[in-house]
């Protein structure tokens, strides 16, 4: 059993906007933030992307200059929203610099910096330019190092990089560290930013949709890539909590052991992750009021996840994928979608999936295409990734 933890503060920046207010407004309006791809030098891919506005105009402070790259800029922008900075400072004052951990998910870190540096190789020697800093931009750990440095923290820090389940799995790791007494609080979440590797990579797998992605639609034809920073301050529950305080109740992890880039066709690993999350929360399927699906909108992913959800929950639990609104934010998706689940719990609504016009009748789940004014008490969020990695989280209201 997992000892419940409190999501005392959280914030997100995605193509829906900077911070919770525009994020909530877009979800309420079922607005999608996806737009035709005109990212960087990428002009040859007919696809839609979820780009965060303003990153190019938001350089890091000079004191953090060696961390300068799109991914850390996005992280920094995210930290400035919704009073998150101040909440972290107050946790540090309460617990100490060594007792606040940093556990963040990313899949590609600052790889865009390296992709651009390869274009600037010395024509004679092939050397990368002097202004390219590997440790603080390219290395997978750089975003956790960056956040640890921003707050002058001296405690445990790590990046979890399990592709698209990364920033869900950080909740499980942080919960273990707090339970073991290694730390008292953790900055968890994820940051993943647009880059050429993922755009051309998913294109090579023929998984990019030529239109804004349509999760669980009969005619779904691929995903739309997005980017996001999602941050949550996780700590033991305060002695008295507001009724709308959000708690992490359960986390379940599993592996498909099947294929590098295709899910288990029956969604067996996905089902095991959801079952493990229910078990650690001490809950039954009937206790879940809404499921935020992984729902990438590729034909095989949605079919496999749908089978697993139907096997466990039937068609009685309202479900949706919010990737039609945000795009697939890859290593940030688990964190971003946990925050969307937390907003649903606090504001009392179920987000309908954007862009989906005709729900696939072969997937027997209750897929929402419109918002519902129903106050969920417990939500489950799924995140699955390449390499057959699965993670499900369960969040609930304090009352």
């Amino acid at each position: 059993m997992l000892n419940s933890l409190w999501l005392s503060h959280f914030t997100a920046a995605s193509c829906l906007g900077h911070g919770l207010t525009p994020t909530l407004a877009a979800l309420r309006a079922q607005k999608s933030g996806l737009a035709p791809c005109a990212f960087e030098t990428v002009t040859d891919l007919a696809t839609y992307i979820g780009e965060v506005a303003g990153i190019d105009e938001a350089p890091l402070p000079a004191s953090l200059g060696e961390y300068e790259c799109r991914n850390n800029r996005l992280a920094y922008l995210g930290l400035q929203q919704d009073g998150f900075n101040a909440a972290v400072e107050s946790a540090i004052a309460r617990h100490g610099r060594r007792r606040v951990g940093v556990l963040l998910g990313t899949s590609t870190s600052g790889i865009l910096q390296t992709e651009q540096a390869y274009r600037r190789r010395d024509p004679a020697t092939g050397a990368l330019p002097d202004d390219f800093h590997y440790r603080t931009t390219h290395n997978t750990y750089s975003v956790a190092d960056f956040v640890r440095t921003v707050f002058n923290l001296e405690g445990p820090a790590v990046v979890v990089s399990t592709a698209c389940s990364s920033s869900a799995k950080v909740f499980a790791s942080a919960a273990r560290m707090i339970a073991a007494g290694v730390i008292d609080a953790a900055i968890v979440g994820g940051v993943d930013s647009l880059c050429l590797t993922t755009l051309y990579g998913f294109n090579s797998l023929e998984l990019l949709s030529s239109e804004p992605c349509r999760p669980y639609d009969t005619d779904r034809n691929g995903l739309s890539i997005g980017e996001a920073a999602a941050f949550i301050l996780l700590q033991r529950p305060a002695a008295s909590l507001d009724a709308d305080a959000v708690l992490l109740l359960g986390a379940g992890e599993s592996s498909d052991a099947h294929h590098m880039s295709s899910p288990h066709p029956e969604g067996l690993g996905a089902r095991m992750a959801m079952e493990a999350a229910l078990r650690t929360a001490g809950l039954q399927p009937a206790d879940i009021d809404y499921i935020n699906l992984h729902g990438t909108a590729t034909p095989s992913n949605d079919a496999a996840e749908g089978r697993a959800v139907a096997a466990l929950f039937g068609d009685t639990v309202p479900c949706s994928s919010t990737k039609g609104a945000t795009g697939h934010t890859l290593g940030a998706a688990g964190g971003l979608e946990a925050i969307i689940g937390a907003l649903a719990l606090q504001r009392g609504f179920l987000p309908g999936g954007a862009n989906t016009r005709c729900v696939d009748p072969d997937i027997p789940i209750q897929y929402l295409t419109a918002n519902q004014q129903r106050a969920p008490r417990r939500v489950l969020s799924n995140s699955f990734g390449f390499g057959g990695t699965n993670c499900s989280l369960i969040l609930g209201r304090a009352q």
């Binding site: 060594r98 992709e115 390869y118 092939g126 997978t140 990089s161 592709a163 990579g201 880039s261």
Partner: protein, 267 residues
Amino acid sequence: MKLTAYLDGIGLIGPGLDNWLAARPILAGTVPYKSRPLTVAAPQSLPPAERRRTGLAIKVALAVAQEAVAAGQLDARQLAAVFASSGADNDNCDALCKTLASEDRSISPTRFHNSVHNAPAGYWGIASGAMTPATVLCAHDGSFGAGLLEAMTQVAVEGWGTLLVTYDMPYPEPLHAKRPLPSAFGIALALMPERSAQSLARIELSLVDAPPDALAEPELEALRHAIPCARGLPLLQAVARGHASTVVLDYLAPLSLAITIEPEHRG
């Protein structure tokens, strides 16, 4: 805060360190260390289609994982896994960056799915059949320490048997000049919540301020210093020597990991 586990199996591969059994007397100081290039076989446990797609990082990770599981006489399908690496498949990373900087940006699907940091964990799942939780970590030069801390936390909190698999490989140029890693290397530890007949030692982890231990043998110390996952070597040396001791391993400044090793004396 102290975390405890039983060390039931070790996997090791590095230049001049073919496997744990061969390396044990070298680390104990009874056989001299001789450097030579690392060789590693393609993992026979993978189906041929997957085996063809494995680069050096995946081969090293699977070799040490398999060795640790076999040494502990364990069932891999029952073990959770923690993978930790500073970089993963660095040849693949270079090839992708070169293609993306060229006129034709078409990259191969295999190159793309092998680019994820968790590629070795994915191949391990396919090879072992383990559907258990597997996490994949990076903490730059502190990656061994971060992996050990996560694995020990899993054993202590979840009561899981957890296989820690740490591995690194060099970058080709031009990244090598920016991140010089001299050789591939891998260390795996099978960490269990209960003592068994295979237990080599009981180990206990705590966070401390002390500087990390160095190795007396200069060439081994150079490896420890230069390769993130080789920073676990002082722990292996203590196990190889076979007496109770405490070693300090690199983590993230200002923190190090103090590991107290109590050998299990069998039969």
